[in-house]
Amino acid sequence: MSCNHDQQRRQFLSRGAALTAAVSIAPGLMLYDFARARPPGEAANPAVRWGMLIDTTQCESGCDACVSACNKENGLSGRTLPTDSQWIRKLELQQEDTGRKISMPMMCQHCAEPPCVDVCPTGASFKRADGIVLVDKHRCIGCRYCMMACPYKARSFVHEPVTDHSGATPRGQGTVESCTLCVHRVDQGVAPACVEACAREGHQAILFGNLNDPKSAIAQRIRSVASVKLRADLNLDPGISFVGI
């Protein structure tokens, strides 16, 4: 009888552990509301617009799980000299009149009207049909005009020869780069690395999904909470929205 009781207890514990793991690791995937990966060769779907909703009330000051995950995923050094690439960074904000403190991640805002795409002389900066703004590394001549044009300081210039090619994204000296929204993962049906890392930490500050799908979690959440887009005055229609600022 006691043996049976122990067995049930173990079973309960192991199921509980599995459930806990699923709840803590999977939200990025669970919130990632599209059904299938994009087959190779198939064009990006113009009916989709990928975006993020960043809840600054859930983002913990001092936590840089999203930054570390991005660096690892994309083979960035993680150094923070002014010449080092930073695709995502943490902003520590303090409201000027109230003194309220906010922490939040900052990256390419994947604008619907991206100034970097407008100014790029060679068309290396481009926006995919599903709203992801990218740099074609084979076409970038390294003029840095996109960096001058970006209101969010989202882009980095590769100042040194790249020796670490462990990342999933191609990188090259003398070209400009920025957050790809982990396009290689999105095309596989997996959430961006920063989203997954944030969820793994239990913060769930970053919600990722299809803004154009009214049934998606992100679209529903944007409908139900007050959110803002950064530098909305510029009318660039960023794909990233923020709650709590």
Binding site: T80, L81, P82, T83, D84, S85, Q86, R89, K90, L91, E92, L93, Q94, Q95, E96, D97, I102, M106, P115, V117, D118, V119, C120, P121, T122, G123, A124, R139, C140, I141, G142, C143, R144, Y145, M147, M148, A149, C150, P151, Y152, K153, R155, S156, F157, V158, H159, E160, P161, Q173, G174, T175, V176, L230, R231, L234, I245
Partner: protein, 396 residues
């Protein structure tokens, strides 16, 4: 005893100047090769100040290349003979400066080996891409214009060719100003005043360069410039210097009127340390007020005063461009209004920038290219302005 003839001495000086120019060009090429090999890490530029000293040199030369043609336009388009005699020299200077400026701009690219991509993949919404056409078009139109000026059988075409160059260079300098005017997010730039400011800056800097080269050529040939022409050209320079001051003042005053721009203006005009000093000391005092005194003060205004004034105008040009391009980037972007901000990426902080020897060498290399082209050009072809005393007496 063997006496060297003037021609022998002259040719030695010529080769000496040529060797000097080529050495500077070589230094620029070596710097570019080093930046290509090691990356821009060996420059002072970074992810905050993405355009640095090479861009100051390049934009100075490209803007001046357009403005120096003013002398030609007044001659060919508006029919002033005094200026028409100077049109071939103006054309040569324009081509030389444009070549130097473009060399710096291209060799500063992260991937200069891909420069051809700018032609094979053309983005029509990019003002940079427009400028690829405008710059190469200026080479073609000025080349055509020089042909009509220097080939007697083509003389009848010099006026329409001059008109084409006139229109082309105004559009070109507008395009250069628009590179910055289209940057909506940066406090220093998004202003419709920039294209006209760039146009009047081009007139000023171009004329200053023209006056310096003309002084050197007349001195070399032991000639004296006619005082009436001297007076006319120096007064024109003075007028241009005042015009730039007016537009720069208007640019800053309009910014001061917009409360969101006040912090940036405070940075440039009062609290920016080196940038503030360079603006007031380099551009306003040494680059504008002192040249105006040298030009207009009773008792001054002679050839050497005009030469010094022209050199100071160029010092002012570099000061103004440095403050505009680098100071404009050093001031942090306003990403989240109403909040003070800190990050590992320099958000909310003034960016630091110190140009390295490689950037100085690359920029100087561009000037060297212009110098070599002009030195060889005036040596092998007749670019010396020949003034007709009869037309001078007619006051034309």
């Amino acid at each position: 005893m063997h006496h060297r003839t003037f021609a022998q001495i002259e040719i030695r000086y010529f080769y000496l100047l040529l060797a000097f120019g080529l050495a500077v060009v070589l230094a620029g090429l070596v710097a570019a090769q080093q930046m290509e090999a090691h990356g821009h890490i060996i420059s002072g530029m970074n992810n905050q100040v993405v355009w640095g000293l090479p861009h100051v040199f390049a934009i100075f030369m490209i803007v001046s290349a357009s403005g120096v043609l003013n002398v030609a336009s007044v001659g060919s388009v508006f029919g002033r003979h005094v200026y028409k005699a100077r049109a071939p020299l103006a054309g040569l200077l324009s081509l030389a400066l444009l070549a130097g400026g473009l060399m710096v701009l291209m060799l500063d690219l992260g991937r200069p080996d891909r420069v051809i991509v700018a032609i094979t993949n053309y983005n029509p919404t990019s003002v940079f891409a427009w400028n690829v056409l405008l710059y190469s078009g200026l080479f073609a139109t000025v080349g055509l214009y020089l042909w009509t000026l220097m080939d007697r059988t083509m003389g009848g075409w010099s006026k329409p060719a001059g008109l084409l160059v006139f229109v082309w260079r105004i559009i070109l300098t507008t395009g250069t100003g628009l590179i910055f005017a289209f940057l909506v997010a940066r406090q220093a730039y998004a202003s419709a005043l920039l294209p006209p400011l760039f146009i009047i800056m081009s007139f000023t800097w171009g004329l200053a360069i023209f006056l310096i080269v003309q002084f050197a050529m007349f001195s070399w040939n032991e000639l004296q410039l006619n005082p009436a022409i001297q007076k006319r050209l120096k007064n024109l320079l003075g007028l241009f210097v005042v015009s730039v001051l007016y537009l720069v003042a208007t640019y800053h005053l309009t910014n001061l009127y917009f409360s969101r721009q006040v912090a940036f203006e405070r940075f440039i005009l009062t609290q920016g340390g080196f940038y503030t000093g360079l603006f007031w000391g380099g551009y306003v005092v040494l680059g504008s007020i002192v040249p105006l005194l040298l030009i207009f003060m009773p008792g001054l205004g002679q050839a050497r005063c005009v030469l010094l004034a022209s050199l100071l105008v160029l010092l002012g040009a570099f000061s103004l461009l440095y403050v505009f391009i680098i100071g404009g980037q050093a001031f942090p972007l306003l990403i989240v209004p109403g909040y003070t901000v800190h990050s590992s990426f320099g958000d909310g902080q003034l960016a630091s920038y110190a140009p390295t020897v490689f950037e100085w060498a690359l920029g100087a290399g561009g000037l060297g290219v212009a110098f070599v082209i002009v030195t060889v050009g005036v040596r092998i072809l007749n670019f010396l302005p020949h003034d007709d005393p009869r037309q001078l007496m007619e006051g034309n």
